[in-house]
């Protein structure tokens, strides 16, 4: 892991390579380093960290979303980068509102992001521009709503049986 100073240096290099306001915040906690970036700069930052940085991160180990309710902006998307050469991890995260969350897809940089971006879209409703096949992945394709958001109720969904299938709305839609 980059230490607190190393993280500031990474942030400095990203600022000079991508844009001055790309990095919103740096956070060093629990032995891990996190770089918070603006949503529209995510693709450029990851492209820089993968190819051009002095300390490159060639492996995307994880990509996941979370909901920071009641904070604003609510949604967060985390990219867990890994350098197998230096044995270092760096988390890049970005925060989005729930109105029209759009991010640029990183599938062209890291093909592994394909399934994981679909999962974030499925559960949090984040649109990934440029994803080759952005569909729901774990929920049914005709499902309405984004179940991992914190304001989505727990349970309460009727279970479909033969005796009650005609009583349930949307069943024949």
């Amino acid at each position: 892991m980059p230490d607190a100073t190393g993280l500031e240096l990474v942030a400095q290099r990203v600022r000079s390579a991508v844009s001055e306001d790309a990095v919103v915040d740096t956070l060093h906690a629990y032995g891990g380093a996190t770089l918070e970036v603006k949503p529209d700069a995510v693709h450029d930052v990851l492209a820089h960290l993968r190819d051009d940085d002095d300390e490159p991160y060639e492996f995307l180990s994880t990509l996941h979303g979370c909901d920071y309710l009641p904070e604003e902006p609510r949604l967060g998307v985390h990219y867990g980068l890994l350098s197998m050469q230096r044995r270092e991890r760096l988390a890049v995260k970005t925060r989005l509102g729930t109105d029209s969350p759009v991010l640029r897809s990183v599938v062209d940089l890291y093909p592994t992001a394909s399934f994981q971006e679909r999962e974030v879209y499925d559960f949090f409703g984040v649109q990934f521009e440029g994803h080759p096949d952005l569909r729901r992945i774990l929920m049914p394709e005709d499902y309405v709503g984004y179940p991992q958001r914190r304001d989505f109720p727990m349970g309460g969904e009727p279970v479909l049986f033969t005796f009650n299938e005609h009583e349930l709305p949307r069943w024949y839609d």
């Binding site: 891990g32 060639e58 180990s61 996941h64 592994t112 992001a113 774990l138 929920m139 179940p147 727990m154």
Partner: protein, 433 residues
């Protein structure tokens, strides 16, 4: 060409399958002229594509995995895994449980590697709490995780060999796996989903007789693994179906985010136990088996060697098992011992508070990763200061590794592709969560 019939058969097998298929027609075999209508019908077998659906209920898909394959003859041109059939919303359910109750949920994701699931979740919560784990608990965790890795690989070996048609392997492998499950039953009371790991340590100390039995099983296992090798490695069918099938290069594996035995079989010596040691793995002496070709045979060899290395680690951990408490003495996190409840008021209060409300975790977020039998198993926990996690996300290796299936299958025969599914070892409970 010799007159030896066995030699003739072997050399005939070296002709690519499609050529042999085209060289025989029904009319030639019956000594008849082809029917007249067939001459003016232009049949182009190369242009005919067939889309078939394998699964979700198919024994070769190891669960409820659905594969949409486009075939040309027997060659797979395109395939798409369709998942979500056993999605049960475990991550969402965890948000409604206290931290210590969520352990039960996360164990049920990758149902063959339950100790790893609970370990990675507990270690994430321990990091957020800044809770120290006693050395004895760490050793006990290592012992159980390594035994679990062998049990998981044994189950993989049995079912993978079953897919190839080596049916007897299933009974051999499951017989040995039963011994490991007996050990888990001794320490945790359950054979599967033991919920043995707690935040701050393990639920109970190992009972008398556990160490003796574990040593007996560990001492007997290398001979068993030799037997598996003797059964499979000298089997012509096994070798022909494993060697040079499903080859994926190291670079492609890295781009697809594949970790674990699949990546190591392609030649990248990446093992989190060595690279970023956790839970005291730096104290143990073991090797990381690596393949060279990246085909199905290498994947099989790497897993078999991993079982041997895991035996070494478990034995070293049993040898060096330190004395001391098996769970943290912090009463705000761990339940007090049963005998204290009768005499100590504080113990009763702590017990009541923990069971009714659970413990609160200060706000923060953390990502922890361990080497599960299938690769990097990561856990992201977001705490908001209450007694329930705000978000638990599992980066399951099966889910990410499944993306490499398309690369393994494209251009191969459908039978080789089924072998690749078996060697990929996806656990659909972990894929769908």
């Amino acid at each position: 060409m010799t007159d030896n019939p066995g030699e003739r058969t072997r050399s005939a097998l070296k002709v690519p399958y499609r050529e042999r298929e085209e060289s025989v027609t029904a009319s030639e075999m019956a000594g008849l002229d082809p029917p007249a209508a067939a001459t003016d019908y232009e049949f182009e077998p190369e242009a005919e594509l067939l889309t078939i659906n394998i699964g979700p209920h198919h024994p070769a898909t190891h669960g409820v995995l659905r594969l949409l394959c486009t075939l040309e003859g027997e060659t797979v041109l395109d395939l798409e895994p369709i998942i979500g059939y056993v999605h049960t919303g475990i991550e969402k359910s965890c948000e409604d449980q206290e931290y210590w109750k969520a352990i039960t949920f996360v164990e049920r994701m990758d149902y063959l590697a339950y100790y790893f699931n609970s370990y990675v979740y507990c270690s994430a919560v321990e990091t957020l709490l800044d809770e120290e784990v006693p050395p004895r608990a760490q050793y006990l965790r290592v012992i159980h995780m390594e035994l679990n890795r062998i049990a998981s690989h044994l189950f993989w070996l049995g079912t993978a060999a079953l897919d190839i048609g080596a049916m007897s392997m299933l009974w051999w492998a499951l017989r040995e796996r039963d011994g490991f499950l007996d050990l888990f039953e001794m320490s945790g009371g359950q054979r599967l989903h033991t919920r043995y790991f707690q935040v701050g340590g393990v639920a109970e100390d190992i009972p008398p007789g556990f160490e003796e039995k574990a040593r007996k099983i560990i001492a007997g296992m290398p001979a068993r693994i030799d037997q598996y090798e003797a059964l499979l490695d000298r089997n012509e069918i096994w070798l022909q179906r494993m060697k040079h099938t499903g080859v994926v290069s190291r670079e492609e594996m890295l781009a697809l985010g594949v970790t674990g035995p699949l990546l190591r079989a392609s030649g990248e010596p990446w093992d989190l136990r060595k690279a970023m040691p956790y839970c005291g793995y730096e104290q143990f002496d073991f090797n990381v088996p690596v393949g060279t070709v990246g085909d199905n045979y290498d994947r099989y060899r790497v897993r078999l060697e991993e079982m041997r290395e895991s035996l070494k680690i478990a034995e070293q951990a049993l040898d060096g098992l330190p004395e001391g408490p098996y769970i943290t003495t912090n009463r705000k996190v761990a339940l007090p011992p049963r005998h204290e409840l009768a005499t100590s008021m504080e113990a009763l209060i702590h017990h009541f508070k923990l069971v009714t409300e659970g413990f609160r975790v200060p706000p923060g977020e953390v990502y922890k990763a361990v080497e599960s039998p299938r690769g990097e198993l990561g856990c992201f926990v977001l705490a908001d200061g209450s007694a329930k996690p705000s978000r638990v996300h599992m980066r399951d290796p099966s889910f990410v590794n499944l993306q490499s299936l398309k690369r393994m299958g494209e251009g191969s025969l459908i039978a080789d592709f089924i072998a690749s599914v078996a060697m990929l070892d996806p656990i659909l409970g972990g894929v769908d969560r």
